[in-house]
Amino acid sequence: MRRFSGGAEAEIFETEIFGKGAVVKVRCEKKYRIRELDVSIRRTRTRREAKLLHKARMGGVLVPRVIALGKFSIYMEKLSGTPLKDTKIPEKGYGEIGRLLARMHNAGIVHGDFTPANIMVCGDDFYVIDFGLAEDSRSSEERAIDLLLMKRSVGRGHYKFFESAYAREADGSKETLARLSEVELRGRYQIRTLT
């Protein structure tokens, strides 16, 4: 298996399953925490992520298909595409990303790390990846954070298309956008708007 990428809590390897290219996300052991805690965290998060991937798919969001589930690992189909952060698409194209997030929120999921690094462009389709921080939630606060992350990652023009498409299609979008303005007023989010 070749190491593909990885973050703080999991590593992603390229592999093959049933003769097809696949990736496996493994939540690795952390030596800093005691074993009981380590095992419980890795097991619950692996299960939760697989469950949410499935739930998102049922809600009409394109996500990598889960092929198999281990104790601490998820085997998924390998997407052939490029991350949105490395792809130039027209500003208008961000309307489709807004609809994507709306579908996910309507399905009762918040992503927790909704940035262009976690959206894959595969031909004409957009796939959402990395549900490691995702949660089963309909809270407007957490929905607002999903929007905020995108707002701070892309240009103003892109975001405008993103937000107006989201506002049209997401349930409770009025409340979420009101919450977003509130969140942005908090001290920790203010500094960078001074630029």
Partner: protein, 324 residues
Amino acid sequence: MIVIGIESSAHTFGVGVVKNGKILANEKKMYDVGASGMIPAEVAEFHVENSGEVLETALGKSGMNLEDVDGIGYTKGPGLGPCLQVGQMTAKTLATRLGVELVPVNHSVAHVEITKHVTGLIDPVALYVSGGNSQILKIDNKPYRHYRILGETFDIGVGNMLDSFARAAGLKPAWGSTVAKLAEGGRYTAMPYTVKGMDFAFTGLLTRATELAAERKMEDVCYSLQETSFAMLCEATERALLLTNSVELCTCGGVAQSKRLKEMLGSVCDEHKIKFGFASDDLNADNGAMIAVTAEKMLEQGYRAGPKECGIEQRYRVDRAVVF
């Protein structure tokens, strides 16, 4: 350059004397928090009563005279208003009398700066953990040079959480170290674990631990509480390190005196080949030397405070302070 630093944001009144980066004296007196906690007005009174003595002892130990001093630094905030005021008044009086520069210092910035000063780390991610604060910080140059908050607690500081638990469970002060001592013989029992990205929250953990204190062996509760809360801090810190591609980590603040926390953070750093540093315990607890060191650095870089800047600010956010 010779600079005096005065710290009085919470229960400690401290005076430090520094000469060209060398700490000549670091004296302090701590208000006995007892069972009732801190009553701001009473702590301020304590500071007033002890300020003269601490200042004199510090000067005596440093071998310097007041006339040699080039600047007076003091804690502008964050902290308890009445307490901050005592330090600010002392500093202002001294500076006016001596005709030297008065330097308002952000308390949180000072904690990180002193740690960088003694460890020689250049651009570390800093895990600042104390009673009132729990934050993951790193220097950001835009739009001005400041400590950007990468992650922080959603509710209370980790030190506050450990203290509140220990008080509710009827343990003896100093609470954090009492919990640590009891934890040594404990076994694990499950507790709520709350991390979201690089942020964390402690009140759920506090409630559950307090409930469990009535049902389980105290050793087990202390052990699990400490392991769970420190693991939360480590996970968020690890994420911050990788996200910012950092090669250095430091920890500072009162809770950074914990051996177990440093051991765990050391393990995080080993895994990613990251350099890890921390200051000695007397520099991690609130102290005057950290204010002196930071103030001296600011003066060296040409900082001169205007009269309007020399007040106190109870909620002086770390990211609002310009770093030199």
